[in-house]
């Protein structure tokens, strides 16, 4: 029994003598094996690229005027005039019926969208338009301007935006 314990001690001593003490470890020998981490990264990157969205798409909803829409207005009652934003080449106008309420001139090819939003907010507080507005544009205007104007109308609190073609100039810009 005593002999065995001695042998055991001998083995332990031997194993201790093989293990280098921390002070003996040279800095250069410590190397992290990052290969499995890289493997995971490569798999993850491929998966994420396949599921990534680089341009977020959305939809803009609008209605057409009743005489254009297939569901034509059959009632004989005269329709209530709606607040309309007119997009012209030289100005943005806020029109109600035949009256041009506001005219915001285009300066240096820049449409005054900021002023339009504030004017629309004022006009909507003056009268209850039930959140309805019509955007009417002349033929030459780029489509992006029409979309931007519809955005401004929604931001000003008009939920139902209609799209229409602008008729003859209701009034020259003031």
């Amino acid at each position: 029994m005593h002999k065995l314990s001695k042998e055991k001690t001998g083995i332990m001593q031997l194993s201790f003598s093989k293990t280098p003490r921390p002070s003996e470890v040279i800095e250069d020998d410590i190397e992290l094996d990052i290969t499995p981490l890289m493997n995971i990264f490569i798999i993850l990157v491929a998966f994420l690229i396949s599921m990534a969205i680089f341009t977020r798409l959305a939809i803009v909803e609008f209605s057409l005027p009743p005489n254009v829409d297939s569901s034509m207005n059959t009632s004989e009652q005269k329709p209530q005039p709606k607040l309309t934003v007119r997009i012209d080449k030289s100005y943005l106008g806020i029109v109600l019926g035949d009256n041009l309420l506001d005219s915001l001139p285009v300066l240096e090819n820049k449409y005054p969208f900021d002023s339009l939003q504030s004017r629309l907010a004022i006009r909507s507080s003056e009268h209850d338009f039930k959140g309805e507005i019509v955007v009417a544009s002349v033929d030459q205007i780029a489509f992006k301007m029409v979309v931007r104007t519809m955005d401004i109308c929604r931001n000003a609190g008009f939920e139902k935006v209609g799209l229409s073609s602008a008729t003859a100039d209701p009034e020259a810009p003031r």
């Binding site: 190397e31 990052i34 981490l37 890289m38 990264f41 490569i42 993850l44 990157v45 994420l48 690229i49 599921m51 990534a52 969205i53 680089f54 341009t55 977020r56 798409l57 959305a58 939809i59 803009v60 909803e61 609008f62 209605s63 057409l64 254009v68 829409d69 297939s70 569901s71 997009i87 544009s137 002349v138 033929d139 030459q140 205007i141 780029a142 489509f143 992006k144 029409v146 979309v147 931007r148 519809m150 955005d151 929604r154 931001n155 799209l163 073609s165």
Partner: protein, 155 residues
């Protein structure tokens, strides 16, 4: 000095071990960027490559309805060139016969009640409103009532 740099990746046994630290850094940055733009749903609608969509603050998710593309040069329905923009602009009438015929067929083909009468328009941001107006008029005459425009969401 140059010789030392060349032998930097060599271990004692002479085996070349590349320095992976910078690669791991790039991978981590890439991973963060991709996680940020990750979406479980994905895009149900893909924008056409030959047109630039207008930018908008709208946030409603697009649904795969019947799609009509208005590029810089032509109008496409189901990826088939239906009519050119020049022809639309030169026409005096609002109704475009070629498009009307095509859209009528599209309306008849769609039997799904959830998307019937709904049209998703993909229009280039620079095209004049006159083209959009005539296209929408023709589509409404063909039986489409609910119009939606595809846009790129503002960041």
């Amino acid at each position: 000095m140059k010789t030392r740099d060349l032998h930097k990746g060599l271990s004692k046994g002479g085996v070349f071990r590349p320095q992976l630290t910078s690669l791991v850094d790039i991978m981590v940055i890439l991973l963060f960027f991709l996680i940020q733009s990750f979406s479980i749903e994905g895009n149900l609608v893909t924008a056409s490559a030959d047109l630039e969509l207008p930018v908008s603050s709208a946030d409603k998710n697009p649904q795969p309805f019947c799609a009509l593309h208005i590029t810089k040069k032509q109008v496409l329905v189901d990826d088939i060139i239906t009519v050119t923009n020049d022809k639309i602009l030169s026409a005096e009438d609002f109704l475009i016969p070629e498009l009307f015929k095509m859209m009528k067929a599209q309306k008849a083909k769609n039997t799904d009640p959830a998307s019937k009468g709904k049209l998703l328009i993909q229009a280039d941001k620079e095209i004049p409103f006159a083209i959009v107006k005539k296209v929408m008029y023709t589509c409404s005459k063909a039986g489409f009532e609910d119009f939606k425009v595809l846009v790129v969401q503002e960041e």
